[in-house]
């Protein structure tokens, strides 16, 4: 399977989950995602599910607290000026959380499928214009820069006695200083690169050259199995959704 095929399958699954399929359509989507996980990602699928749960669970709890606990009715009931119930609010929160969990899991599955590729290799293999690939590479590098800046700021503020490594009241009081120090570090790191290193080397041209490889065929190998299946599932999901509607 190519990264193009993997991302295409992932995008179709996410797009279908967003159009709010009915129970039959949702069952088809879940079955397809499960098949992709078991066949393509295998044991690492559990990691994908765990990460998705870590992301979605706090959000689900918060939504439950607001809609079920405080408001006591679902948003569509409020919009229709109908009598609301906590049960309807619970169903609403469960549906929304389930959809978010599905989307985050699919994103994780697609990236874990290509975990053996380095970020540069993954971006290079995508059938996208070089300008878009460059944007992806730079966006990823900004994440690294932020991580570097956080590390720097931690060293500075812990060594200067402002923060402690372990959780503490001092950390809570001075967390804004950490944020300030992180941004200051990130900006100076970027300026350092852009002032000397990048202009002298023309590093951006090297990046373009490193990303310029275009695959001979956009889709290949198992893409030719997964894409028809996914497109078929999309048709079934949309049709299943239409059946029974006036």
């Amino acid at each position: 399977m190519t990264p193009n095929g993997g991302f295409a399958v992932g995008l179709i699954l996410i797009a279908l989950s967003v159009v709010e399929p009915g129970p039959r359509g949702a069952a088809v989507l879940v079955a397809l995602a499960l098949a992709f996980a078991i066949i393509e990602v295998r044991a690492a699928s559990l990691l994908a599910a765990r990460r998705a749960a870590l992301v979605v669970l706090p959000l689900a709890l918060f939504m439950g607290l607001v809609w079920v606990g405080i408001v006591g009715e679902a948003p569509y009931q409020i919009a229709a000026d109908a009598v609301g119930t906590r049960a309807a609010a619970l169903v609403y929160v469960a549906k929304l959380s389930g959809r978010l969990f599905f989307i985050v899991t699919v994103i994780q599955l697609v990236f874990l499928r290509f975990a053996d590729l380095t970020p540069l290799q993954l971006i290079r293999a995508l059938a996208l214009p070089v300008a878009v690939k460059r944007m992806l590479a730079i966006t990823l590098s900004l994440i690294e820069t932020l991580r570097h800046a956080i590390d720097r700021a931690h060293i500075a503020l812990i060594a200067s006695g402002t923060l402690t490594r372990a959780p503490s009241l001092r950390n809570a009081l001075h967390s804004w200083r950490l944020i300030q120090a992180v941004w200051l570090s990130a900006v100076t790191i970027m300026l350092g690169r852009m002032r000397d290193k990048w202009p002298v080397e023309n590093t951006m041209a090297r990046l373009d050259a490193a990303l310029a490889h275009v695959p001979a065929r956009v889709f290949a190998g198992d893409d030719r199995i997964w894409l028809p299946i996914t497109l078929g599932a999309a048709a079934v999901t949309l049709l299943a959704d239409l059946v029974g509607k006036p």
Binding site: S160, G161, R165
Partner: protein
């Protein structure tokens, strides 16, 4: 015929500008550049070692060539590229980043290489290997220009371009910081059973026992990547050990839990230690953090202004990032040499400094020790270390041995 150019002279003599002018005017339109610290040594565009090398690797003209993920042929016998394959570029030590940059250059098609004091971060073995790699007789078909404070001209086979100081704006004398300090007996630091390893890395320390007495200077010595900076981070509480105990005097000391209360750290890259944008901001935060532990007189503004002036800053309101790097490095000594805390810890303090300043700094550290403060310093600069009466702590293979 390839060229080898050494740009020498004191700090603030315009060496970096001369290096850039040389590249643009005489070398090539594009040159590989290794600056003093990570943001100017590595590209900053990659998150893996393999990608950093891949980014610079010379590529065939055809677009269809898919480059393999190989890490490339090692340039330095001492640089085990495969051992770095699981590390992230930003987690490498300063010296390791320079080695990675040199490796990436060796696989690139750049016709020229420029190095701005970066080789000073290498241990003697790696430094010799790098200089040997630049030796014209060894066949490197690229021009090389370099600034290095530890290579006195003439260097065989190199053309020297001597610069003279063009400003006295940053003149400093670190000895003035310790001239008025009162004697103080620093409590001993005792380490028992220290074990530490990074999450995705090897074990750095294994069951280390160490006793550091106040009134003594200790030099941490070891090859690049041995864990020298890691030990300093453990002592100030930036990192927590996997096992082991520290005591300060006769009391347990857990800076990773309760905060640093005894050690004034000057980091290798000075920009890793600022907790504010101006010197006044930085010192105000230290004042707030150490208000209970430090004599208020130590933080009196006239005194701080005097200390800053001795290091070349004529105002506490100076914006740190507007200063040249060598000036920022000098200001990074203010905190450890101010005498606020009983232990001064300095990571590569002489990096990027000219000979006169290195001599003055060594004298200041020696004086601090004579007053009873404890000093722990890391350096690959043997001449600098030789000027400070000290004991050597050798780091390697997970151990720290007092020699």
């Amino acid at each position: 015929m390839t060229r080898r150019e050494l740009i020498s002279g004191p700090n603030f003599s315009g060496r970096s500008a001369a290096l850039m002018a040389l590249l643009h005017d005489e070398f090539a339109a594009e040159c590989f550049y290794i600056g003093p610290y990570s943001e100017a040594a590595l590209s900053g565009l990659t998150s893996t070692i393999a990608d950093e090398i891949d980014l610079y690797r010379a590529r065939p003209a055809t677009k269809s060539a898919a480059m393999p993920a190989s890490l490339g042929r090692p340039v330095f016998p001492a640089f085990d590229v495969a051992a770095f394959s699981r590390r992230e570029p930003q987690t490498l030590s300063g010296g390791e980043q320079v080695l990675l940059a040199l490796h990436a250059f060796s696989l690139s098609s750049y016709p020229a290489l420029a190095i701005d004091t970066a080789l000073e971060q290498l241990d003697p073995q790696n430094r010799d290997a790098a200089l040997d790699y630049f030796d014209r007789r060894k066949g490197l078909a690229a021009n090389v220009a370099m600034i290095d404070n530890r290579l006195p001209p003439p260097l065989v086979g190199w053309t020297s371009r001597e610069r003279s100081a063009d400003t006295h704006a940053f003149d400093c004398d670190p000895r003035r910081l310790v001239a008025d300090l009162a004697p103080r007996q620093a409590p001993a630091i005792t380490i028992r059973g220290l074990t530490f390893g990074y999450r995705h890395g090897n074990t750095i320390f294994r069951d280390v026992d160490l006793a550091l007495a106040g009134g003594t200077a200790y030099r941490l010595a070891g090859p690049n990547g041995a864990g020298k900076t890691t030990l300093l981070k453990l002592l100030v509480g930036v990192l927590a050990p996997n096992a082991g105990e520290l005591t300060l005097g006769d009391k347990p000391y857990r800076p990773w839990r309760h905060g640093n209360r005894a050690i004034a750290l000057a980091t290798q890259n000075p920009d890793h230690q600022w907790s504010g944008a101006t010197l006044a901001d930085d010192l105000a935060r230290r004042r707030a953090a150490f208000a209970r532990a430090v004599d208020a007189e130590c933080f009196a503004e006239p005194r701080l202004e005097k200390l800053a002036a001795a290091l070349g800053a004529h105002s506490l309101d100076v914006h740190l990032y507007e200063l040249p790097l060598a000036a920022r490095k000098r200001l990074s000594w203010l905190w450890p040499l101010a005498g606020a805390l009983p232990w001064a810890v300095l990571d590569e303090p002489s990096l990027g400094q000219d000979l006169a300043t290195r001599e003055q700094l060594a004298a200041a550290i020696g004086q601090l020790t004579a007053l009873g403060y404890g000093v722990l310093f890391v350096t690959h600069d043997d001449d600098f270390a030789a000027r400070i009466p000290h004991r050597v702590l050798a780091i390697g293979d997970g151990r720290v041995k007092a020699l």
